[in-house]
Symmetry: C2
Subunit: 181 residues, 2 copies
């Protein structure tokens, strides 16, 4: 039903992203997972292999934590290597056309700080223009990101509360996937 590109440089120690993925695995939807940080510890991503996985699916979920207002480096490397000319763009590069581009991420800091007068000055979606336009340029359907805040250990929430919110995010993802089936 979906391909999940898992881009977390330290997934085993992650709390929120791990809880989201575990919830998806134990759900009744069929999700194929590519843990790209684990598959490519030297960042030497195999474009052809990744493209084969993409071709099997209509829904591509990108699961990652936001670091420095942007995706982790391993996901950027995936985009730079996998979305080749002739595959993802260019006159014959239409292999992603019509697929759904589904960002699912986590944000360490509270939502209240993501505004002009807050500590992070911009809304979360303002940091997403690069993924949005990447979807457009590859003729994919950009789905508004599914995410939640306060996953940082300094957020004041307990481990259990963060896991609960992560499971809620996984449920939103599952609901969305079922709604478009």
């Amino acid at each position: 039903m979906a391909l999940l590109i898992l881009a977390h440089p330290n997934f085993e120690k992650s709390l929120a992203n791990k809880a989201i993925v575990e919830e998806l695995i134990t759900s009744d939807i069929n999700v194929e997972i590519r843990n790209i940080a684990s598959l490519y510890p030297d960042y030497n991503i195999d474009a052809k292999i990744e493209q084969e996985f993409i071709l099997k699916h209509k829904n591509i979920i990108f699961q990652y934590p936001i670091y420095w207002y942007n995706m982790p480096a391993i996901l950027k490397q995936w985009f730079d290597v996998v979305l080749e000319y002739g595959f993802a763009y260019g006159s014959t590069g239409d292999k992603l056309k019509g697929k759904n581009f589904i960002p699912s991420f986590t944000v360490g800091a509270p939502e209240k700080d993501y505004k002009a007068l807050g500590e992070h000055h911009f809304k979360v979606h303002e940091f997403c223009k690069n993924i949005e336009q990447t979807a457009y340029y590859t003729q994919m359907n950009y789905i508004d990101p599914i995410y939640f805040h306060d996953t940082s250990v300094n957020s004041g929430f307990t481990k259990e509360e963060i896991i609960l919110k992560a499971k809620h995010q996984a449920k939103n993802l599952i609901e969305f996937l079922k709604s478009i089936e």
Copy 2:
């Protein structure tokens, strides 16, 4: 006078970024260059070494090509690894305070396509919010990016024309550095 973080995954084959760097090297300004893609081919960036270079300088130039509306993965890895808690942010993390954050990049496609009705739908600066806010959060002075368009081989410009524009960009950089001396 300045530290230049050169983030090009294939610098030897680059046209514009190479011309900019060569122009800077042969100029009368003193620029220290960290070719991070060449220094860290496995993306295993040494935070402490990079931090030592930063501490020596007031001006930090980030030189890179825009790929997929964003910085190359090696530069994102540099941010994720080097801008540590206690160094770049946090109650005692003020080591970057007051330094100048100077983005200098190249854009493959023409400027006319970077607007709502164009092929790339957003203005270039809309793709820069993540670097802008990274500068703010580390208490650096964000300098408006210095860049030029049409560096793609499909842009219709000759190699010589692209090199000429790259040299012009280097001159703008040098002028800026001298103006704030």
